[in-house]
């Protein structure tokens, strides 16, 4: 069995030396697949992605236990540009574009992976996102939400990533726009041969595209499986898909309900 492209092994991430945001999670991302990381706010999903892509200590956070292995190499606690140079690129949740640079400059600023054909990559970005090509000289700060997300993905593509980490693609965007972006991502993945790790609060759309999914709660993985398995799981249906056991919509919040007996039962 070929080893996975990315493997997390009992990963622990600590903020300010006192707050453990991620408490020992293990997951595998096989090459060429789409893996989804689900969970509600505060579960530790974004922290996990940022740990993979390299903290810069801005939030005084460190990986304290466990390992992140990419292609057999340990990449935890490395500066972000080194991780990008290895082929792991992040599309962040917030501050995802350079606001005062134009769209074209945003793409130009990227330093592609050593050995990658920079010119071909940039042309590929305009090809996949013709809407962006029309906005080349617009300042990024003046783009709409959907255009901004397109630019964020585009500038990540210009790094020539093998593994693309996408944080909350759907946040703040209309469902149709999200659908279009996801379709675009699938196309890109086939065309450029990438692996995707998606972090999503919107479980429904994530389960539509993913090959495999992990559910995170309070910094721990509580469930994982194929979308088919998860869609039929009672708790996923109740708390993440909003379809309760009796078929009616159920908005009870994940964190408030004491379900420990069910998990262990």
């Amino acid at each position: 069995m070929t080893p996975p492209l990315l493997r997390l092994d009992k990963l622990e991430v600590v903020y300010h030396r006192v707050i453990t945001a991620v408490q020992g999670i293990s997951l595998d991302v096989p090459a060429g697949s789409i893996v989804a990381l689900l969970g509600t706010y505060g579960a530790g999903k974004t922290t996990t992605l940022r740990a993979i892509s390299g903290f810069i200590g801005l939030d005084d956070a460190r990986v304290t236990e466990g390992a992140i292995t990419y292609r057999g190499e340990r990449i935890e606690n490395r500066p972000p540009h080194q991780t990008t140079a290895r082929g792991v690129t992040l599309v962040p949740e917030r501050s995802k574009v350079f606001e005062n640079l134009t769209v074209a400059e945003n793409i130009e600023a990227v330093v592609p992976r050593p050995g990658a054909d920079a010119r071909k990559l940039r042309d590929a970005v305009w090809e996949y996102f013709p809407a962006l090509a029309r906005l080349r000289s617009r300042e990024a700060g003046y783009l709409s939400g959907g255009e901004r997300q397109m630019l964020a993905i585009g500038s990540a593509l210009a790094c020539a990533p093998e593994l693309l980490l996408v944080d909350e693609l759907s946040q703040g965007l209309a469902p149709l726009v999200v659908q279009e972006l996801l379709d675009r991502l699938q196309l890109i993945r086939k065309g450029l041969g990438m692996t995707l790790l998606l972090v999503e609060q919107n479980a429904a759309i994530a389960l539509d595209v993913a090959d495999y999914a992990y559910v995170l709660e309070n910094g721990r993985i509580v469930l994982d499986g194929t979308p088919e398995k998860l869609r039929t799981h009672q708790d996923i249906r109740e708390f993440y898909l909003g379809t309760g056991a009796d078929g009616r919509r159920n908005y009870r919040d994940v964190k408030q309900y004491r379900r420990s007996r069910r998990w262990y039962g």
Binding site: H81, T84, P92, F98, A109
Partner: protein
């Protein structure tokens, strides 16, 4: 008319020095108050290379310029990189301490006498006539033209070249820049190198005009309000600010009181801080942010 010439020369001096402040601040968000001393170091560098390469003035100048660039990169590589991510106060105080260290070291190394590198270069500071009623020294003329060239070069570099765009990106959003493969330390070192290069150039030209003496450092300190008035992260602002400060200084010295020369820049600065703290062309930072 002579007043206008004086203003132009003084503005050129301030502009050349303040673009260093702006470069470093824009790219790494650090206010380098060691700039006056680095400028003086550039002047002494010229004095050294001038006597070393006596008879080959162009080589001396080129060597001195390269030296200034290297010193800037060294300052970052040896000291300032440790302060990235620390508080604003700590970084600024480090530059102040560096300035003090440099000033003491320069006196120890070069003594306190006024030096005239122009003599070693074998050139004379002749006077050139402008129009019918004004004169300008050739060093002054070189200053004005040189400043214009430097600014033009910087504008082109930052707007059009790939590394210039990367420098601007790193200044705006360091984390995102790092995630897009930009090596922040390299960009910061480049900014420091360029800043020390332009500051050193200013020092060298002033040294050719008036010689190197202890008061050179105060010129560096007075250029700092020019950078702030224009907006600490805008080159265009540095130009505008330098013109305003130079004009106020020359006019007030001439028509009101010569003693005011040292304090006028700070008057203007204070006025600007009250009216518009982020300067004429600076990006409005969230000054009240939590």
């Amino acid at each position: 008319m002579q007043l206008a010439v004086n203003i132009a020369v003084l503005a050129a001096i301030y502009a050349l020095i303040s673009c260093g402040y702006v470069l470093i601040y824009r790219v790494s968000r650090v206010l380098s108050l060691a700039h006056g001393e680095l400028m003086m170091l550039g002047a002494y560098g010229l004095a050294m290379t001038a006597s070393l390469f006596a008879g080959h003035p162009l080589i001396a100048i080129a060597a001195s310029a390269v030296l200034a660039l290297l010193v800037g990169v060294l300052v970052y590589a040896l000291l300032m990189w440790r302060m990235t991510g620390e508080s604003v106060l700590a970084a600024v105080l480090t530059t102040i301490a560096l300035g003090i260290l440099l000033r003491g070291a320069m006196i120890l190394a070069f003594g306190t006498q006024t030096q005239y590198p122009l003599r070693d270069l074998g050139w004379t500071n002749s006077s050139v006539a402008i129009g019918e009623s004004a004169r300008i020294s050739s060093a002054g003329l070189t200053l004005v033209l040189g400043t214009a060239a430097v600014y033009a070069g910087l504008f082109v570099f930052l707007r059009a070249s790939r590394w210039g765009i990367r420098m601007r990106a790193a200044g705006q959003n360091p984390l995102l820049a790092a995630q897009r493969g930009i090596r922040l330390h390299g960009v910061y070192a480049l900014a420091w190198g360029l800043a020390t290069f332009t500051g050193g150039m200013a020092g060298m030209l002033i040294a050719c005009d008036a010689g190197i003496e202890a008061t050179l450092v105060t010129v560096g300190l007075k250029a700092f309000p020019a950078a702030l008035v224009g907006g600490l992260d805008s080159l265009l602002g540095a130009l505008a600010g330098s013109l305003i400060i130079a004009a106020s200084e020359v006019l007030l010295i001439n028509y009101v009181d010569p003693l005011l020369s040292d304090v006028v820049p700070f008057f203007v600065l204070l006025a600007m801080l009250v009216i518009r703290p982020w300067g004429l062309f600076g990006t409005k930072e969230e000054l009240d942010r939590v």
